[in-house]
Symmetry: C2
């Protein structure tokens, strides 16, 4: 565990405005180790259910967003699409924030494919998976064991005493599958969303249907993490779990609810040592999700970036303050680490420059 002092006690009953006063991030325990940032992309048919995800409003977006995010991190521009992934509301992908962070820090970086419909036009590591099925089908992730094994291998082979692992994801519909997995494992949880009005009722219906069609009760898979992924999850959850298990050293799960699900899976696999979650301020500000309670219940440390766009001139960034798009592509971890390394002002400048250069293209 990476401890941040007494922050866990501060967390109970916190008020929204207190978020800014909490110990935001603590990479100090990582003693100067360098990050190895891995972005895992994938798809789940669940992301195409109408009304489930912002990307889902345009099905092509669910397919093209993950590879485009990977390409943006590698090349500073996407190759599978023009511009960058943007929600129908006009919010640019958090890959913009992640890329800006990567520009300022020293890290190894690779993209991995756990099962995407459209392959990235960039060199990725194929984890031998395939796109996930709608979780209302009996089996959602056919190649769960294969992905877990391959991811574990990669995690192991990238291990080094001088580095810690930071994991990000890009998969549309991933909060619904995360919710499904958490329910199967028995957690009483709420999940965030990329839509203005969190489609809680719809997600609840989808997950309940999924549990029923897989013939499992809530909490029935409490001791069967692999099966929980297989029945109710997505390929990316399998990959993130495997990578963490394989890596010998500290792991920072960079994300929100989806990383909460990974933590729950790791707990069942008794692999939660030296793992923490780092997310964005916007995730914690979201009243319709309860990540802090979830991580507290699981017993994993949660740290967060303090980056806020309330003072930016750019509408496309300030809209993050509305909490529509809140996380993704490892933003919660990369922003946090970059801020610690170079300071908030420099990071904000870089984000604005990165965003501005997109608008000029």
């Amino acid at each position: 565990m990476i401890y941040i002092g007494s922050s866990l006690s501060i967390n109970i009953g916190y008020k929204k405005e207190e978020v800014s006063k909490m110990s935001k991030h603590d990479f100090n325990d990582l003693s100067g180790k360098k990050p190895i940032f891995l972005l895992t992309i994938g798809n789940t048919e669940t992301g195409k259910i109408e009304g489930i995800t912002a990307a889902g409003e345009e099905p092509e977006l669910t397919d093209l967003t993950p590879p485009a995010d990977a390409e943006f991190l590698y090349y500073d521009k996407c190759r599978s699409i023009e511009g960058v992934p943007i929600t129908p509301d006009g919010i640019p992908t958090p890959a913009v924030l992640s890329k800006a962070s990567l520009n300022l820090i020293e890290t190894q970086f690779l993209a991995l494919d756990a099962g995407s419909n459209v392959k990235a036009k960039a060199p990725t590591i194929d984890l031998g998976g395939s796109p996930g099925k709608d979780i209302r089908k009996p089996i959602a992730v056919e190649k769960t064991e294969e992905i877990l094994k391959n991811a574990q291998l990669i995690g192991r082979e990238l291990s080094t005493d001088d580095g810690f692992l930071m994991l990000g994801e890009s998969i549309a519909g991933g909060t619904t599958t995360a919710y499904g997995v958490l329910k199967a494992l028995g957690y009483d949880t709420k999940v965030s969303s990329s839509l203005p009005q969190n489609p809680i009722d719809l997600k609840e219906k989808v997950v309940q249907k999924g549990l029923k069609n897989s013939d499992i009760e809530e909490g029935e898979l409490k001791n069967e993490a692999t099966k929980a992924i297989k029945m109710m999850g997505d390929p990316v959850l399998a990959a993130l779990t495997g990578l963490t298990i394989g890596f010998k050293g500290d792991v920072v799960l960079a994300g929100g609810t989806q990383m909460g699900a990974v933590a729950a899976l790791l707990k069942e696999k008794d692999a939660l040592d030296s793992v923490c979650i780092s997310t964005t301020k916007w995730i914690l500000d979201d009243n319709s999700s309860n990540l802090r309670e979830l991580t507290s219940e699981i017993g994993i440390n949660l740290i967060n970036s303090s980056i806020s766009f309330k003072d930016t001139d750019f509408d496309g960034l300030r809209v993050y303050e509305d909490g529509l798009v809140k996380e993704g592509v490892g933003a919660g971890g990369l922003l946090n680490y970059a801020e610690e390394k170079v300071g908030k002002n420099r990071l904000l400048d870089e984000i604005e420059e990165t965003y501005e250069s997109l608008r000029k293209k």
Copy 2:
């Protein structure tokens, strides 16, 4: 450049027995940095020309050896074939030596695919290439630019202050394509072989035909490295060149003649800084190849492992002393580095154990 003192002056006119007295290896300049070992696999139709390569005597062997080598390094066992790749003469792949070395050192490891006929049953990074054509055809490596770019990207993204890059290869027919590239660049060179009687005449004929059919004279591509790869090379040469260019830091090319060709390509691209070649004792003992003269002419340092099997009980290892199979799969670099880290005796024990466990399977 990684210097090993006055070894270059010792090299002129060296006698075979002097090899054992030279400064064998010098990773001291790498100041405690950890290796990042990348194995690049691929194929070239040139490897199927009858009589060109030991693997070529069984065409399936040319296709299956590279992926099997990658699998052996990842899993301790191959998945594409039973046992391990063995020449018709009964000599086990140098992947056995490389794997033993990997077992004893701390390194990150990944396999990359530059263009193989049979994909490895293991997670590799796809460099967007395709198998190389017979070099007697006008164009040998159609996707040269793509492979160079992708490899450069990976080299860059894996860069870290704490590490140095070590590159190995597995491709049948690679010494012939290396010879072709060197001739196109204007080097007067001899090359080694995996066959008992180095088929020099045949290689010469193939390369001359290749130059003619690509409409180039010897040395005509002296200033056109990319074209030299395209006309006379193979996908793996493109990958190794790109990886080295992209990596920010020291690079050890772990191999023999093929790495000599990579060095020549890097020189043309003005990218030879902080690069050296580390090969096996058997390569330097081979009178039919002149790697020392070549590296001296190029201006790149050549170091070597001193590992010898003259005292082993295992025939399948002692046969390496006959100089039939001499190098490959990064053996020349991994043996060298492992020996420096853990000592010769421990390394020899590990190699024998690895080999013996194969025989039991």
